[in-house]
Assembly symmetry: C2
Homo-oligomer: 162 residues x 2
Amino acid sequence: MEAPNPAVPWDRDELTVGDLAARSGVSVSALHFYERKGLITSRRTSGNQRRYRRETLRRVAFIRVSQRVGIPLADIGAALATLPGDRTPTAKDWRRISQAWHDDLDARIEQLSRLRDHLTDCIGCGCLSLRRCTLTNPHDELAEAGPGPRTLLVEGLESDGA
Amino acid sequence: MEAPNPAVPWDRDELTVGDLAARSGVSVSALHFYERKGLITSRRTSGNQRRYRRETLRRVAFIRVSQRVGIPLADIGAALATLPGDRTPTAKDWRRISQAWHDDLDARIEQLSRLRDHLTDCIGCGCLSLRRCTLTNPHDELAEAGPGPRTLLVEGLESDGA
DNA sequence: CTTTAACCTGAACCAAAGTTGAGGTCAACC
DNA sequence: GGTTGACCTCAACTTTGGTTCAGGTTAAAG
């Protein structure tokens, strides 16, 4: 183990916005944006420049992963807000807030799989039948909708010939 | 088989924008929008009102299904543009352009599944390790990127302690 | 022939997730 | 101590997929 070398960015205990950008792969403008939205925080130097704690790197990694999962920034921010403010989050903390994304991902994969299966049926018949595929019924709401425009939609398409 | 009754909207051979909205479940403003984008077309009456062919119903159904799959309108428009202009599209035509979405859906489901598996690992260790999970590496580009910011990102996070 | 519902256009507005640019300051190297 | 690169703020702009509103026309029903 060698002593930290302050000349090397990743050995310093605080990061400039440029360091954080380079190491997270996120642009400086995006980091500013996240900060405005309250997803990350910084202290300011006497010259008004941002300094980030190393922990912030992990927050940014979490933000990026969450975005890949398809979570909107506002929700990511809400999740980050549940992290303890008085200490550095532990592995357990990250585990807890990641779990929600995992469940979300499961649900969305299943939803897409169902959609794909329906699409397979519809490709098979080539008709895009609403009654058979329920493909144009975004959130499976048709069942509770009863008669009305939605039914007209089905009738309309069904009667649209080949 | 009874004769078409022009008093009933779905028996007329042309649809007003209101008819199309009611039967497709899409708002009038959205239909105007689709038309501006070239996804659907209409003829105009002497009074400048839109009249849609029945076939348009199927196009709108296709648009809605495609949106559920996650395809942007521009791409949907490009796909619709490959339909024959000189005749009413057949089941085979719809089958052809739906196939692309099916493949797309397959790819995205697999991508999300991989993401979920990685996330499971990362929840297990609680560290969001980039080197192990490649979770912050959006399009699996890291392999070809070589040294640079991307590598710095990995080094940076790996050195970020617990 | 009047009333009313449906239609028309164009412009403005919304959210999300940033980017870009202008104009100015800070800090580190030589 | 000057040059250069990194930093600062604020405002405006981008894209996608629309909605809402204002002001005016059409068409169908009574």
